[in-house]
């Protein structure tokens, strides 16, 4: 046989394994030398990378631009928090939240895909869905209404609560690695190969025997399940859930913008995007926030987004990969 895989080769599989192992080892050791503030930044980097990777399955690989992924985070968080009030540990509530998010993801996906909503129309459907969730959560007193839910601090690890921020660091890291592992698995199987083709031309896929509706739905289910898991982390790291924060458009934007900047539909794009944007967002947020310019970090996002669309339309990671492989040849 000629060259190995269908994709252009970049580094042998063993090389990649070593690089990944090294990166994970560094991230595992890092809290030993990081300041408390740096640890909280890394928690956000991992957590947003995790949500971005979850989005990447349906938004990047399958090319279905969900702009309401915050809804799944909110549903997952609310489910775990409400179950916690009734004595169920968030370690279980987390999966209940993920499952409920997956069910709703399947329903939204079915409505959108069955009736052929594409491009902007699917974007609008998902935004509307998240907004409906936000308005419902704000107005139903049983789930805390506009005030939201507050979680009493116990500091008990069995209740997903930790005195030490480094515990959250490791959980967020584990979530990011979980989503990336799932995506890597999907990427090399039939499912993932189909998704990349569905993104390019659904009609051609149908003609070649691909059940487009089924695979788009599966992608949506995997994606919303993962995002739903993230809700529990959000709730129990912040000890509170506000409808505007977890269902709102700003969180959806945070989720979408990372893979787009880093490289949607690539395995490492969402992670790279989060490593670029999260520190930038945090620094500019606190810098501008001090001078009373709240929300100014969004201007930084906007400028970066325009720059990426203009100069690196595939995202930063594919560009980086090209640079590296060119150097290898030289």
């Amino acid at each position: 046989m000629r060259r190995g895989r269908g994709e252009p080769s970049e580094g042998s599989p063993t090389q990649k394994m070593w690089a990944a192992a090294l990166a994970v080892a560094v991230l595992l050791a890092l809290p030993a030398v990081l300041s408390g503030y740096a640890v909280t930044i890394f928690i956000l980097i991992f957590f947003y990378a995790f949500l971005a990777q979850a989005w990447n399955v349906v938004g990047g690989y399958a090319g279905q631009l969900s702009a309401g992924h915050a809804a799944f985070v909110g549903i997952g968080g609310y489910t775990a928090a409400l179950l916690f009030e009734r004595g169920v540990t968030p370690w279980i509530g987390m999966f209940a939240g993920g499952a409920l998010a997956a069910v709703l993801g399947a329903i939204i996906g079915y409505l959108g895909f069955r009736f052929g909503l594409r491009g902007f129309y699917f974007v609008l459907l998902t935004v509307a869905f998240a907004e409906i969730c936000r308005i419902l959560a704000s107005n139903v007193e049983a789930v805390g209404g506009a005030v939201g839910l507050y979680i009493t601090f116990t500091g008990n690890p069995r209740q997903f609560q930790f005195q030490d921020q480094r515990a959250y660091y490791y959980i967020a890291l584990a979530l990011m690695l979980l989503a990336t592992g799932v995506t890597a698995l999907i990427e090399r199987r039939r499912f993932g190969i189909y998704l990349t083709a569905i993104r390019e031309d659904e009609t051609a896929c149908e003609a070649l025997g691909v059940d487009v509706l089924k695979y788009k739905l599966l992608a949506m289910i995997v994606s919303s399940f993962l995002a739903g898991l993230g809700g529990t982390f959000y709730a129990f790291q912040n000890f509170s859930l506000q409808p505007g924060a977890v269902f709102g458009i700003p969180l959806s934007v945070e989720i979408v913008i990372r893979p787009i900047i880093g490289g949607a539909g690539t395995l490492l794009g969402p992670i790279l995007g989060s490593f670029i944007l999260t520190p930038l967002g945090e620094v500019s947020r606190s810098y501008f926030g001090q001078s009373g310019l709240h929300g100014a970090h969004l201007i930084v996002y906007g400028v970066l987004l325009v720059a990426v669309v203009l100069f690196l339309p595939q995202g930063a990671y594919p560009y980086l990969r090209k640079l590296l492989s060119r150097r290898n040849i030289a």
Binding site: G6, P8, E200, T203, A207, L208, G209, V210
Partner: protein, 262 residues
């Protein structure tokens, strides 16, 4: 233009001895005021090569879309290998062994050529290695083996036509619907595709082709069905169809018919 209604309902009288693979019966489709396909009836036998010809706008591509499940007919039936295709989705029809190409080619431009064909082979071979092996075999047969690692978007027109064919072939069909796979090609390229189609047919794949390149149609087709304004106006062996006055009239118009060369 007023007469052909009577002759178009004449049942096909050719090759009755062959087992029927595709049976199209009284198929009709209307788009608003346009009757795109009207009471179309024809068959394709097991292992046969049939050409569907007619002037631009005669309803050929619409007929393909109706057969392959991309459009639902207003009335009429399509049976494939004895099975009624009513209500089946295109991917289900493909899984039964009926593959089509598109007149306006639809490669996945950012995927490599071999990945393009893998989308087809994965349907019957879930294992990605096996699917890739089969995709490469198809590409070699089609003459695109050397381009396997290129993104499909960079292929030339002729290569894209062949990729379209390779992908349809990758689904391992019993019947291949080819929509103008030779138009826009040079004579040499056309000749290669003709040879290819003949080779596929020898392997037992039945072919239904839409084609404007008459030389290719005449040399390939065992039977020709002629459409005009959505209706079948003639059917028969290539020589008979070529000399049929109704066909000449459809192609050249009323005034020309007396002076038209045979």
């Amino acid at each position: 233009m007023t007469e052909p209604a009577t002759s178009s309902n004449r049942p096909p009288t050719f090759r009755r001895e062959q087992a029927l693979l595709l049976e199209v019966h009284n198929l009709s489709k209307r788009f608003g005021g346009l009757q795109a396909v009207k009471d179309l009836t024809f068959t394709v036998g097991e292992g046969e090569i049939v050409a569907l010809i007619g002037p631009n706008g005669a309803g050929k591509t619409t007929a393909f879309a109706l057969i392959s499940g991309f459009l639902a007919p207003d009335s009429g039936t399509v049976r494939f290998a004895g099975r009624d295709l009513r209500g089946l989705k295109p991917h289900e029809i493909n899984a039964l062994g009926l593959a089509r190409t598109f007149q306006i080619m639809r490669p996945f431009p950012r995927l490599t050529v071999v990945r393009n064909v893998m989308i087809a082979t994965l349907g019957r071979h879930r294992d990605t290695r096996e699917a890739e092996r089969r995709a490469r075999a198809v590409l070699d047969e089609i003459g695109l083996g050397a381009k396997a690692e290129l993104p499909a978007g960079v292929l030339t027109l002729a290569e894209r036509k062949r990729l379209e064919l390779a992908r349809a072939l990758g689904t391992e069909p019993r019947l291949l619907l080819l929509d103008e796979v030779m138009s826009g090609l040079t004579d040499a390229e056309t000749e290669r595709i003709v040879e290819l189609v003949r080779a596929l047919n020898r392997r037992g794949i039945a072919i239904l082709l839409i084609e404007h390149v008459m030389r290719a149609v005449m040399s390939l087709a065992q039977r020709i069905v002629v459409l005009n304004y959505g209706e079948r106006i003639a059917e028969g062996r290539p020589e008979a169809v070529a000399n049929d006055p109704r066909v000449i009239e459809a192609y050249l118009g009323d005034e020309e018919v007396t002076r038209a060369p045979a």
